[in-house]
Every structure is written in C-alpha cells, then in structure tokens.
Amino acid sequence: MSNPVIKCENVFKIFGSNAEKMLQDSNGNVDAKTFQENGCIVGVNNASFEVAKGEMLVVMGLSGSGKSTLLRCISRLTDATGGKIFIEGQDLLELNNKQLIDLRRNKMGMVFQSFALLPHKTVVENIAFPLQIKGIEIEDSIAKAMDMVKLVGLEGRENYFPRELSGGQQQRVGIARSLAVEPDIWFLDEPFSALDPLIRKEMQDEFLRLQEKLQKTIMFITHDFDEALKLADRIAIMKDGIIEQLDTPANIVLNPATEYVRKFTEEVPREKVLLIEDVMDKSDTKDLSELKVSKDETIENVAEKILSQDKSVAVIDNDNKIIGSINPTKIINTVFGGRKNNN
C-alpha cells in the first residue's frame, strides 16, 4: 500500500443547511442522533481507507447506510463536508472545475444501478459519448466504441436504442460506456441490483472476466453480501454512515468485528467463501497423507477429498511447495461449527 490510488482520510458527508458548522463544533465525534435533532442527516461518518492499484474494494451496506454517498464523495458528484480524499496523491477537493472535468474525462468511469443511458442515442453512440465529450473526432470515437461493443459482447446490436434492449444488455452498454475512455479508476454503483438473479450471476462472471483482463482499481457498491463475497478483494461493511469493518472476505466471515457484521456472516455458506489458505494450519507440516491440495481452492471444491483422508492433508502453494496442512476435523468445524450454537 505504498501508493494507494484512492485514499480517504476522515471523510464526512452531512446533509443539512448548517452541516459544516456542526461538524466543526463536534470535533470529529459525530453522533447521528444529535445531528438529526438539529436537522442534519449524516451520510458518511468518518470514513478512512485506501484502495491500492488493481484492487477491488466492495462497499456493502443496506439501503440508507451511506455507501452510495461515499462513492459520490469520492467521484466528487457531491462535495464531502469534511476530511480529505486523494486520487493518485492529488487532493480531490482542491481541484477546480476544469481539473475535475479533466480527471473524469481521463481517469474515472462509473456504472449506475439504473444504467443511466441516454435514451436518444444508440448503443454505439452511448458508448462513444464520453469520447465525443472529450473532443475526439466522431469517426474515431465510433471506432473505439465498436471495440467496446465487442468487449462486452453486444456485436450486432450496436445500432439499437436502449429502449430496445433487456436490462442485462443495457447494463453491458453502461459498462462499455464507463470503460470507453480507458479509466484507471472504475466506480460501480450497485450495477447488477436491478437485474434478475440469473442475469445477475451471468453479469458477475462477465465482470470478473473483464477485471482479470483490465486490472482496474475498483470501488464496487452493493447491498448483496453474497455478491460482495464473490467479487471482492476487500469488503467494507457500512452501517449508518460508519464503516463497521473493512477486511478480506475470509476475515470478515471468520472474525466479524461487530454484532452487525456477524449477522450478515451467519447465513453465509463458508465452504464457498473460504479458501484452504484461510483455514490451514501453517505450523503442522508433518505426518501428512498423500493428497495435496492447492491453497487457492475453496473448501467446497476439495472438502470431499480431504474428508476421505484419515490424516491431515498437505497444502501447497503455486510452486508446489508445502506451506501447511489441513485436518479433516478442521473442515467439519469450519463448515458446520461456530454458527447456530454460538447464539
């Protein structure tokens, strides 16, 4: 984390007419209730975190938790009330309007929950829109947009209007549009929430495929915990504007920091989330069975094999080196233990 792409320091967003003064008076100790009594609504409460290059940070929270507000502060669609936000070391709040427009034209892309396509433009025109805004010649922008159309798999539909597309296809256009200027930072605001479950899964897979190829720095907003677990490098869980916990999916499932977070993790199928690496025993590498499993496998995939063994199973890394072991009992404990009986 030497050079974070996005860095937030004590970011506050408070809605209301006298928000700034109240924030100053509170000395950084914001209590949502007292603010509400004075006609202010706390959107984001003291958020500090960093996102590294190529990392995907998923912000998870229920509606009204301030996750979208946080995203809009970082994209400066709204101005944060307090705190500092750095984009690649640049102080975002110090930028003037022209610099901000420049930043958006070259560095940022954003995907929206309701797709937010322009109804009067075709698929390819929608995708070319940010390029044309930038001042690129129409023909060049269309050519570039056509590449994007191919990238998201919409060939043959480039001359359709948004109204003629299904939800999933519309969001593909939204994704292609946000990628057209080849941004480094990619914001996604609940991009799949408006889609049907089956389409949503398909789009998530598609999204992972794209990210593997593009390696963008991503902030992804969702209210769906399963989606967060599936996609995230790290997850930030928000409640009432406060980041309750920010950690890797495995750590969140294994060590929920607060009661609120624990409630989310309760119903999670751990075997699908946890990797062997997360539960292996590093110290014990003696007296192992023949079977070797990779540290990057999910428990779900290898549980059956491990459970068929009497002894502990060796865990290997990418270089085939043994780095730890895992005991069948541990598997059973992880998957079935520590849940309901803890209540």
Partner: protein
C-alpha cells in the same frame, strides 16, 4: 354529540356557515345601493365620495364598510395607465438615427424599443406570409421598389395551395403515418375549396412566427429557472397568474405598447404562450433521472454539454409536449387577437359574428377547429415519435420525404401553370382559391338557423325565460346580496379550515385585492356565472365520466372526444350557442357549460382510471359488486384527482364567462371588452385581468391545498 366528536371538521364548517349567514342577515342592504351599470369613474355625481392618492382622483359611491369596501385600490388602474403612458412617451428620451429622414430624432427609449420590436415582428410575419400567399413586401424591405420593378422574377408568387397541402400531408406522414397524412391533406383541401385559404395562411404565418419565438423564450427561461432557484421563485407567481388570467385581458396593455395589428398580437401571444413552455421545460428537466445527470458528469461534461447533450435530449418528450402547448395557445390567441386587429380566421369569424351571419361564422369556426385538431395531432405525434436510426439506410430511404416534397412542389407548379391557361378569365383555382370565392355553405346554415328559430322559437324562448327568471336572476341577486365582509369571512374561513393560517392569508390577500378594486359587484357577477356553469358542468362531467368508465371502449372514446374539444379555441364555442339561443346570458352559460364539461369529464375518467389495479382486484376478491366497488374503492381514491378536475373546470368556466362578454354580459368581461376600445384602457384591462386571475387563484389555492392534504392522507401523493 358523538357525531361531532367523530367529525370535528363538520362542526367547524357548520360554524363557519353559521357566521356567514349570520353576517348576511345582520347586514342590511343600504337603501342607496343599486347595481351600477355604467362605469363609476366616469360618472360625476355629487353623491360620490372621492379621495386622491398618488395624484389620482378616485370617485366612488360610499357604503357601509361591512356592505362594500371602499375602492382603495381604485387608483391602481389609473396609475398603471399613466405610468405606461409616461414610460412610452416621456421616460428617458434619447437620440436615434432615423433611416428615412437621414437625421437624428429624439424619442423616448421605451417607445423606440417597442417600435423596433414591432418592426422586427412585422417583418417576420410579412416574410412568411409572402412565402405562403405571395407578395412583395419582404423583398422590398431587403431591397427597394426600383429593384423589384427592374427584376420581374422578384414578383414572387406564393406557394400554390396544392403544394402546401401536399407538404402538410408529407409532414404528417413522417410524424405519424398514413392516417394523419390523409387527415392533413383533407383539411388543407377543405380549407382551399371552401375559400378560406387566405385567412388560414394568415393565421398559419402568425403561428409560424409566434410559436418558435415562444419556444425559444420559454425554453431559455425554463432552463434559467432549473439552474437557479431564485429565478424560479421570481417566475413562479407570474406563471401562476398567467395560467389563470383570461387571454383576453392581456390584449389591452399590448395595445398601448405595440399598437394594433398582427405584430402586437404576436408579442402578446408570446406573453401568453411562454408560461406553459417554461412550466413544461422545468417539469421535463426535473424528471431527468439523477443517475443520468451523474452519468453525464462522470463522462466529463461541462455545464453546457450537460444541458444540451444530456438534459434536454433526455427531457425531449416533455419539452415537445410544451411545444404542443405553445402551438395550441398561439392558435387560440391568433383567433382572439382578432380583437386587436390581427388578420386571419379569427378576424373573419369576428366579422361574421358581428354581422350575425351564423353560416359564415360556422364555416370559419369549422376551419379553425380543423386546423386546431391538425396542429394538435401533428405536434403530439412529434412529441411521441421516438428517434430512429438512419445510419444504415440508403440515401433514398433517408430522404424520401424530402424527395416526395420536391416532386409535389414540381407537380404543384406545373398544375398552377396549366391552370393559368385553363382559367383564363377570373381566378386560377389551381393556384389559389380567393377568399369567399370557393364553395360556400353559409346560406345553407343561415337557412338552417332560420328554420330552427322558426320551428323551435317558442320552446327556446320559454326555456330561456324560465332559466333567466327562475334560476339565473335569483342566483345573481343572492350573490349580490352578500355583504363584502361576509364573503371575505367565508373565503378566509374556508382557507383556514383547509390549509391553516398560510392558506387563509393567501386567500385573504387575493380576495381583498378584488374587494378593494372598484369592481367587486362585477366580480360577484362573474363568480355567479362561473359557479352556475361549474355546478352544471360538474354534474354532467361526473355522470358522463362515471358512465363511460364502465366500459373500456367508451372510456377511450370519451377521452378522444375530450381531446378534440379541448383543442378548439374557446371563441369557437360561441358560434353554435349563438345560433341556437341568440344573444342572451343563456348562450354564454351554455357555452360555459359545454366548455367546462370537458375537464370535468376528463378528470373524472382519469381519476377513476388511476385507481391501482391491485386494489381493484383486492376489492373484487373481497366479493364487492360493481356498485360497491365504485362507491367504496374507486370514488374515495379517485376523488383528489377529480377535485383537480374541478380546479380546471373553474378556470375553463372563468375563461368562457369572460369571453362571453362578446355576446353581452354584465361582468368583469364586459369591462375588459370596453377597455379594449378605450384609449386609456390599459390599466383597467390589466387590473380586471388580474381580478379574474385572482378569482381563479382563490379556488386554485383552496382546492390544491385540500387535494395535497387528502393525497397525503390516502398515501397516494
């Protein structure tokens, strides 16, 4: 007692009525009081009191303040008038270069500005008229008479009617399809054959100037209001008043500023047509989803790009609905502007009505109605048309309508040319059918009217007499019998009960303005006529709407009928009623009823239709029958929307009552009509218009507040 505890509001209302009637009976009619038929300010009578404010002398008959308030605002119209006069003729004289006399001339600034605006408007109208009807004025304006004399090609003829008809049909085809194209073609052919070509094209040229200008100003102000809250706040009261102000009343100040004729009419039309455009622009821009705006911002749009590449295209439909409104307002103003000398269909209609030539009036009226429907349908089709993709079409496919139009122009010219050989004497009918030289059915209609009068005169007369003697006169007497204080208490009390102190204050202010103006009695007469019209309209509209709602086909049929009737300029409604009932109050009231029934019916149907299907199904599953469903589910839920319909009904009724002055009534409208022909009428006309607007706004405020509260209560806001 139980009942009152359960419904505290009922008790409050009863109490209010009690006070009202108490006041009515307690305050005697002063012996000297009589309904003054003449204009008080011109009568010099020793019985009058007078006071002087701002140097203006106001004369009035004094009464007990409980009975009638003194006209403390009586100086206002005179003051407005004098101020206008001062602005026009004395304020800020400056030197202006005069092109004709080649010298500087001193002129007041405002006068110079209005003259400049006037000449621009005149030029624009002439330009379009030249294209449609032929003429030289524009070319002369660009060059000189000598130039026209030496270049014979400059004597440009207008477009033959065949070309304009084909053009209209092709445009309609492109906007909507075959049906509308056929209709457009037929309307144009009808206009031509019946010899209404010239006035129609005059009216059309008027609209072609007024509508685009109104659009530009409306859009600009709408954008400004969207961007800046302060602009919106400043515009809002003006928009409100303009919405309820009778179009007729704005004509008067325009006369003073811009004189008589088409140009003045265009300017005043813009003043009337811009407010709906502003409102719809604002509505459309507000309705753009916030995410689309954010998407635009994240694409790196600057403010300009955001407005013109994202917001306006996304709000396209609402903005084009605004264009539809603008066109319809322009059209109805084009008709009414006949009063200040605008040429065209309205002028012919006015002339025919003045001569009591019902047949001619009917023809002009039919023409007006047909054009109104055509314009409405075409502009709506434009609004609802979605953008198409042309990229992969051939040149022919992309431009086929333009090509067809080119062919039509060619054929039209050839036909007109051939026609000039065929119709050697007289008129070239393939070029233009001169006014009143086409087929005319006027005689037929006139005979029909005579026949109706001969046959049904006794019945109509009996009905007329009965209505006037048994219903209207007593009702009018009752309204005039109300002491001013009682009326104010009633209105303000209603405001308080409906919307609390805020509503009460607003309503009180509006009422006081009217009460302190010199025309309280007239306002009461206007209100009585409107009330009568509204009550009857609501009964009819409510019944018809409810009945039609029982069947899907009748519902859509009725809405279609409402659509069509709504497009007719209000003035047109006077023709058939004059035909049947002659020149009486009955005619005006029947026109009011017909006109005001449209919104009453429409809102009833729409209200009933807006009841969610889920509730409908839930009720059906609870085992209600049709009647129960209507009374227990649909009416309660539709009622707020129906009340909005009542609001519209009142506005429509007021408009018609005012226009009814043309037939002859004794209300505010009569004074507005008088002000039109009065050199010093500007202030009076404007103040009268504001009075009418305020009557509308009082009801508007009460109804809207009630509806908002009710909707919140029902959870359907």
């Amino acid at each position: 007692m139980e009942f009152i505890k359960k419904y505290p509001k009922v008790f409050q209302w009863l109490f209010l009525l009690l006070i009202f009637f108490g006041l009515c009976f307690a305050i005697e009619v002063p012996e000297t009081y009589k309904f003054i038929r003449g204009q008080a300010e011109f009568v010099k009578d020793p019985n009058q009191n007078f006071y002087i404010f701002l140097g203006k002398e106001v004369r009035y008959y004094p009464f007990d303040v409980f009975w009638r308030l003194p006209p403390l605002l009586g100086w206002l119209p005179i003051w407005i008038n004098d101020s206008l006069f001062f602005l026009m003729n004395e304020w800020l004289p400056m030197e202006f270069w005069n092109e004709d006399t080649q010298s500087y001339k001193t002129r007041p600034l405002v006068l110079q500005i209005t003259r400049e605006v006037t000449s621009i408007m005149t030029f624009l109208i002439e330009l379009i008229r030249d294209i449609l009807l032929g003429g030289l004025k524009t070319i002369v304006a660009f060059t000189s008479w000598d130039f026209v004399g030496s270049n014979s090609w400059a004597k440009m003829p207008g477009l033959p009617w065949t070309i304009v008809a084909a053009g209209a049909a092709i445009l309609a085809y492109q906007l909507s399809g075959k049906g509308l194209a056929l209709f457009a073609g037929l309307v144009m052919v009808y206009i031509s054959i019946f010899g209404q070509w010239k006035p129609s094209m005059q009216t059309l040229s008027f609209i072609l100037v007024a509508a685009p200008l109104s659009f530009v100003f409306g859009l600009g102000l709408g954008i400004a209001a969207f961007k800046n809250k302060r602009v919106e706040k400043a515009l809002y009261p003006i928009l409100l008043v303009m919405q309820t102000m009778p179009q007729y009343a704005v004509l008067v100040p325009a006369l003073v500023l811009f004189g008589v004729g088409d140009h003045a009419a265009v300017i005043i039309t813009m003043i009337v047509a811009v407010p709906p455009m502003i409102l719809l622009t604002l509505l459309g821009l507000r309705a753009v989803p916030p995410e689309v705006i954010e998407a635009g911002r994240m694409s790196g749009c600057n403010n300009w790009q955001l407005m013109f590449k994202v917001l306006i295209p996304t709000a396209r439909r609402d903005i084009l609905i605004g264009v539809n409104q603008v066109i319809m307002v322009c059209f109805s103003m084009a008709v009414i502007s006949a009063f200040i000398g605008a040429k065209g269909l309205g002028f012919n209609l006015l002339l025919a009505l003045n001569q009591l030539n019902i047949g001619l009036a009917l023809e002009a009226g039919l023409c007006i109605s047909l054009i109104a429907i055509l314009l409405d349908k075409m502009s709506l089709a434009w609004a609802n048309k979605q953008v198409d993709y042309f990229g992969n079409l051939t040149f022919y496919e992309r431009n086929k309508n333009a090509i067809y139009f080119g062919i039509a122009v060619f054929i039209g010219i050839v036909l007109a040319y051939l026609g000039s050989f065929y119709f050697k004497q007289g008129f070239n009918y393939l070029f233009e059918v001169p006014h009143n030289k086409g087929i005319s059915t006027a005689d037929f209609w006139n005979k029909g009217v005579d026949w109706i009068f001969d046959t049904f005169f006794v019945y109509i007369k009996a009905f007329n007499t009965w209505l006037i003697v048994e219903v209207l006169q007593p009702m009018r007497a009752l309204y005039l019998r109300m002491p001013a204080v009682a009326t104010i208490v009633l209105v303000v009390g209603a405001g308080y009960l409906i919307g609390g102190i805020r509503s009460a204050l607003v309503v009180c202010g509006l009422t006081l303005f009217i009460a302190l103006s010199p025309w309280w009695d007239r306002a009461l007469v206007t209100t009585y006529m409107a009330t009568f019209g509204v009550i009857v309209s609501c009964i009819i509209g409510f019944t018809v709407g409810t009945l039609c709602f029982q069947n899907k086909h009748s519902t859509s049929f009725m809405l279609g009928v409402c659509d069509i009737f709504q497009t007719f300029p209000s003035f047109v409604y006077l023709i058939p009623v004059m035909m049947l009932f002659g020149i009486t109050d009955t005619s005006v009231l029947i026109a009011v009823i017909v006109y005001a029934t449209i919104p009453a019916t429409r809102y009833t149907i729409e209200g009933l239709r807006s009841v969610p299907t889920a509730l409908h199904d839930a009720a059906t599953m609870s085992g209600v029958n049709k009647f129960q469903r209507l009374t227990k589910i649909e009416f309660p839920l539709a009622f707020p929307h129906m009340m909005l319909g009542l609001n519209q009904t009142i506005v429509f009724a007021l408009f018609m009552v005012i226009i009814g002055a043309f037939i002859g009534t004794e209300d505010l409208g009569q004074y507005i009509l008088k002000a039109l022909s009065d050199k010093n009428g500007a202030g009076i006309g404007l103040t009268l218009g504001i009075c009418v607007a305020f009557i509308g706004l009082i009801f508007d405020n009460l109804i809207r507040t009630w509806v908002d509260n009710r909707k919140k209560h029902l959870g359907i806001a």
